[in-house]
């Protein structure tokens, strides 16, 4: 999350593009964002057809009600284009620019064990000689 956080001592003056005033005057929200944690069943009313529901990996949901026509946060190319456009216009774009729930996480990619590594017994982290011999045999 890139959060514009005005520095009252060094960058909140007239003319700064990171000041409280500038951000309030140039805020361009892409969506109204609501979040539904997986443990709660919340019924929210949105107009059908103008809301995108994105299911996250843990079962939670992001509900994005579009405020800008034709903006699709699952489209990576469009997200980059919109960011460049907002920069040229001097807009402060807020909201979810891009979301991809299909990409595997690093943890899943590496197939990391569920147990904290510090709790693993030595037999699990230090295989015996026979395991090394087997690996070498497979590589022949």
């Amino acid at each position: 999350m890139d959060i514009v956080s005005p520095c009252v001592t060094f960058n909140d003056h007239e003319g700064s593009t990171k000041s409280y005033k500038y951000v309030k005057d140039h805020d361009e929200p892409l969506q109204e964002v609501s979040f539904v944690p997986h443990f709660e069943d919340i019924s929210v009313e949105y107009d059908a057809g103008s809301t995108i529901e994105v299911t996250m990996h843990d079962g939670s949901s992001l509900r994005l009600r579009k405020l800008e026509e034709n903006y699709d946060p699952t489209n990576r190319v469009e997200a980059i284009h919109r960011l460049n456009q907002s920069h040229e216009k001097g807009e402060v774009l807020t909201g979810v620019f891009y979301v991809n729930t299909k990409a595997p996480s690093f943890i899943d990619l590496l197939n990391i064990t569920d147990h904290p590594l510090a709790t693993l017994p030595e037999s699990a982290v230090r295989p015996g000689r026979e395991v090394l011999d087997q690996v070498m045999e497979e590589l022949r």
Partner: protein, 206 residues
């Protein structure tokens, strides 16, 4: 004559979240950031979000680099684990921590200097790897901790604060002004130079 005393009204029990914790149990130390700093507002929202979501504080590891942003984990969730690493290196340290224990919820707090300047290499790769963590960039366009130099996220359209102050001195006819006006002085090299002047006293050369 017997007197009856009315027992004082009992204070209502504090409100708790779904795991029985009050919001006070998500607070941290007293902030030493400037009054009105945006980072304090972010810390407050983190406290609110963690409380509302019912996250157990002991499950959270707060990670940070260097800068005003990276001081802020001290000001929320005192019961959580925390590691303040070196400048721009929060992503790699967080990667190691999450690999060592995937059951912890990593919350990384960084700034625009820590992420977009010295740490931009690490930032790119942690995005590529899709490490499961919350990564917050507290973006104010300056290196606040080192007194206000522009960062990589400041854009060239606006003047630095020291230039504004010097222009005010010059136009007020202040006899003691040590600096000469640099005219418009709005962008790029000239802005960097105005910071260099202030810090290195090179204004005599210009």
């Amino acid at each position: 004559m017997a007197t009856t005393t009315t027992p004082p009204p009992q204070a209502p029990a504090p409100k708790t979240n779904r795991i029985g914790l009050t919001v006070m149990e998500y607070k941290g130390g007293k902030t030493t950031l400037c009054a009105g700093c945006g980072h304090n507002a972010i810390s407050e929202r983190i406290i609110d979000a963690m409380y509302e979501m019912g996250v157990r504080p002991e499950r959270v590891i707060k990670m940070s680099g260097i800068g005003c942003s990276s001081k802020s984990p001290a000001y929320f969730m005192n019961r959580s684990h925390s590691f303040n690493s070196v400048h721009g290196r929060m992503p790699s340290v967080t990667t190691g921590a999450v690999l060592a224990n995937r059951n912890l919820l990593a919350l990384g707090v960084s700034g625009d200097g820590d992420t977009a300047s010295i740490g931009v290499g690490q930032f790119v790769h942690i995005m590529r790897r899709n490490l499961p963590m919350i990564y917050i960039i507290e973006d104010n366009g300056v290196y606040g901790l080192t007194k206000g130099q522009f960062s990589a996220t400041a854009d060239g359209r606006h003047p630095c604060r020291s230039f504004i102050l010097r222009r005010q001195e010059a136009t007020s006819g202040h006899a003691e002004s040590r600096y000469r006006s640099q005219g418009d002085g709005h962008v790029g090299y000239r802005l960097a130079l105005c910071h260099l002047q202030r810090s290195r006293r090179l204004h005599e050369i210009v």
